[in-house]
Subunit: 248 residues, 2 copies
């Protein structure tokens, strides 16, 4: 079956309190078996997860880290630290952190791009799975359909250059597809096949948009076998517990 | 623009020496701006990258590693070691290796699934970028079109559960799209946007197939802006050099 990813029409600048589901419903006719893939930044903005750097006073630790890493604005580093549970690596100009949610990414997901006004930064949603659930429920009110909702960000990876979009929140989606114990075409048991469907959907959606920030929502059709009636375990279920992780 | 991924019709069991491009041409009418995404296993089989475990004698190191990790067949571990430049982690039943190519993955990509005969294993192609280039050239002979060719495998990741398909070889594709220095919708320079397009294509394609091994080739349409006339740098260009890697 074909899987198709297509961007919804350009969005206006999203502001705190905006009804994002209404903006989506104005631009699409989602079906129950669709997946709406949403770059987190518009959700963060709608939820007011923005800080003005002019109101941030960097701590001694933030100033020291920023100086060590060659970061130009220690206030930005302070916001990163505020969003951070643990600093995993700080070297070569790069700050890799574990966010309060448990995501491992550069700068705790704090980002200045696509933010109007020179001194604002956008943070990840406080609970991206909850954001996805709320959006799904509101979309059902507005459209009568209950597509899955996936919230994404662009994360770098160990070992490989570049970023890919990954899932940081989801509702109505089984984020991991477990083929372990099933059999392949030759009858052999598939021993290690546990597919990060939510991340593959995030990556597929990213191919359908440009990075200028004007196409935050992608509708993916043809992946309905991963869509579930319940909201499901969320993207948080994709996080490897620290004690099982060989690369921290 | 919509991006669409669709599996080609089921393939027969591929054997050493088979003309894979002919099998693809029989099942598709590729265009110059398409990307053909091929699970490496059929390429490995066509290239004879198969070993019979009955002909493998495990070394002392392989027997010791297999025992430590609870691996049931030290001959399999021997083949993994033969494909390995460096063992990165060996614990909790998991063997994470750097392959001779430089890929970091479990078991050096050596896999028993979807191999007919109980005692054969399949290895990664010796040079997956060269495999992609040869397939692209042969497809041009057979079809007159020069789609990009992407060779994939399913790799686990640090920090997150599950596997996603990633690029291990490519031809006719710019594997990384560099937005650094370009500007977002608000005019701000995008400082850290370097997109692993080849990996996102691999992930998107994986959504369009089942894992039973009968749909090894996916045609992706709508990603033509990443397709290039030259064969390009290959997937090897995506590997982060060890000295820049914070997670080894």
């Amino acid at each position: 079956m074909a899987v198709t990813a297509a961007a919804l029409d350009a969005f206006p600048e999203v502001r705190p309190g905006d009804d994002l589901a209404a903006l989506i419903a104005d631009r699409s006719t989602p079906r129950d078996d669709d997946v709406l893939v949403i770059a987190h930044k518009v959700i963060s903005k709608a939820e007011g997860r923005i800080r003005a750097l002019s109101e941030v006073t960097p701590s001694k630790r933030a100033r020291s880290l920023a100086a060590d890493l060659g970061k130009e604005d220690p206030r930005h580093t302070q916001v990163v630290l505020d969003e951070t549970r643990e600093v995993l690596r700080a070297s070569a100009g790069v700050l890799i952190t574990v966010t309060h949610h448990g995501f491992i990414c550069a700068n705790a997901g704090v980002d200045r791009s696509n933010v109007p006004g020179q001194d604002a930064v956008v943070m990840l949603p406080v609970d991206p799975d909850a954001s996805a659930r709320r959006l799904r429920a509101r979309l059902a009110e507005l459209t009568g359909a209950r597509p899955a909702v996936l919230v994404t960000d662009s994360f770098g990876r160990a070992w490989r250059h570049g970023q890919t979009d990954v899932a940081i929140g989801c509702a109505g989606l089984e984020p991991l597809e477990d083929w372990r114990g099933r059999r392949d075409a030759t009858g052999r048991e598939l021993s290690a096949t546990w597919i990060a469907v939510a991340d593959e959907l995030a990556a597929a959606a990213d191919l359908a948009r440009t990075k200028d920030g004007e196409q935050p929502v992608i509708l993916v059709r043809g992946a309905g076998r991963h869509v579930i009636e319940a909201d499901g375990p969320g993207a948080i279920a994709m996080l490897r517990p620290p004690e099982q992780d060989l690369f921290r």
